[in-house]
Amino acid sequence: MLPHLDAAHNLARWLMRDSAAAEDVLQEAMLRALTYFATFRGTNPRGWLLQIVRNTAYTSLKPQPESVPADAVEDELVSGEDDPEAALIHTEGRRRADRLIAALPVELRETLVLRELEELSYKEIAEITRAPIGTVMSRLWRARRMIVDAAAREAAA
């Protein structure tokens, strides 16, 4: 499972929109994966792990309202020396991409992240998100529409 740790973290980070929460989800998901690993009989360990990450994240997202946390985007810019991400130079383009993705509703966000960042196929995304492929396609389309519209609004503002 360790080769897929980056994918697992990326998904957790974008579902939770917060580094600390993402680590909690990742740790718990890896523990669950370890527990279930002996019973895993499939051929797509990455998809299988991402499913566990998603389930774990959804469980921990449930009690919270679905709105962008105040620190969703900027937290990593100012805090956390133990986070090498924070040390990176943050270009405006990257900040904008962070804002645009973070503003999407969770079901559009996860679909878009799995396609654009993880570069998974529709079929893999459908399996991970337990949605029909047609739903994956329309979610992707809606997500991309929202991205283009929001970027246009930002540019106009």
Partner: protein, 254 residues
């Protein structure tokens, strides 16, 4: 612009995402020549990708985080299974400082861990078969033991012995990380003619002492031995005699 504006828009997107075969793509290209809605959609799709595929947006696990995950998995390793209370205590100990989530995971583990300990050989063979899936065999591909061994540094909390047995007819192919017996282990990959041999290595201790030194499972042979504080399991579809020879040669090799 809505998908309702032209019923081909989701196809334009599918092409953009590399989901169409050549015939579908050719048919769509014909349509697009005369459809301004689809042309606009194509350029917007390219625009979203440009907006999103920016360095730093993808969040890989940092080295520190990777280490913390490994430490956590190591700590959560169940203790030897016999008295049920003890290994549950082991779980609780391992989860200390891990937070709320671990409590759920531990509860799950109580239900699930027990049966998996009945068959380490099952796990070994399952892991070996899984590794034979395309792209899953090696994380580090090298026939050089001095490349493979250092690759494990920092990925495991022990240094697995790596030997080259090319002279004996078992050339080294590479290595990878795996999970067995509830812990991260080193898997070394050797070749015998067209057959692959997985050699799993981890520090001694735990449950494996009770296992027989050879076994057969679903047509795969398994050989177990211990050396230098490590427990070693070789799994392969080569015949039992050859696998025993591999184990013998491995122990003799420097």
């Amino acid at each position: 612009m809505n998908p309702a504006d032209c019923d081909k828009i989701l196809l334009v997107q599918a092409e953009f995402d590399g989901e169409l075969d050549a015939a579908e793509a050719a048919a769509l290209a014909l349509h697009r020549e005369t459809c301004p809605i689809c042309q606009a959609a194509a350029s917007e799709l390219a625009q979203t990708r440009e907006l999103l595929r920016v360095p730093g947006v993808y969040r890989p696990a940092s080295d520190d985080l990777r280490a913390r995950v490994l430490a956590n998995l190591g700590a959560a390793r169940p203790a030897p299974p016999r008295p049920a209370r003890n290994w549950f205590a082991g779980w609780r100990q391992g989860s200390a400082g891990f937070g709320l989530g671990a409590a759920c995971a531990a509860a799950l583990a109580v239900l699930i861990v027990a049966p998996r300990q009945q068959g380490l050989t099952d796990q070994l063979v399952a892991s070996h078969i899984r590794a034979l899936q395309p792209g899953h065999l090696e994380d580090v591909v090298s026939t050089d033991q001095h490349t493979v061994k250092p690759w494990f540094d920092g990925r495991l909390d022990f240094a697995p012995p790596v030997k080259d047995l090319a002279a004996e007819g078992f050339p080294l192919k590479g290595g990878r990380l795996d999970y067995l017996d509830g812990r991260p282990v080193a898997a070394l990959v050797y070749q015998r003619d067209k057959h692959l041999i997985d050699l799993y290595v981890w520090p001694e201790g735990g449950t494996q002492a009770a296992f027989p030194s050879t076994a057969a499972e679903s047509g795969y042979n398994v050989v177990h031995w211990s050396a230098d504080g490590m427990t070693l399991w070789a799994v392969s579809d080569v015949e039992a005699g050859q696998l025993a020879g591999f184990a013998r040669d491995w122990r003799k090799a420097k």
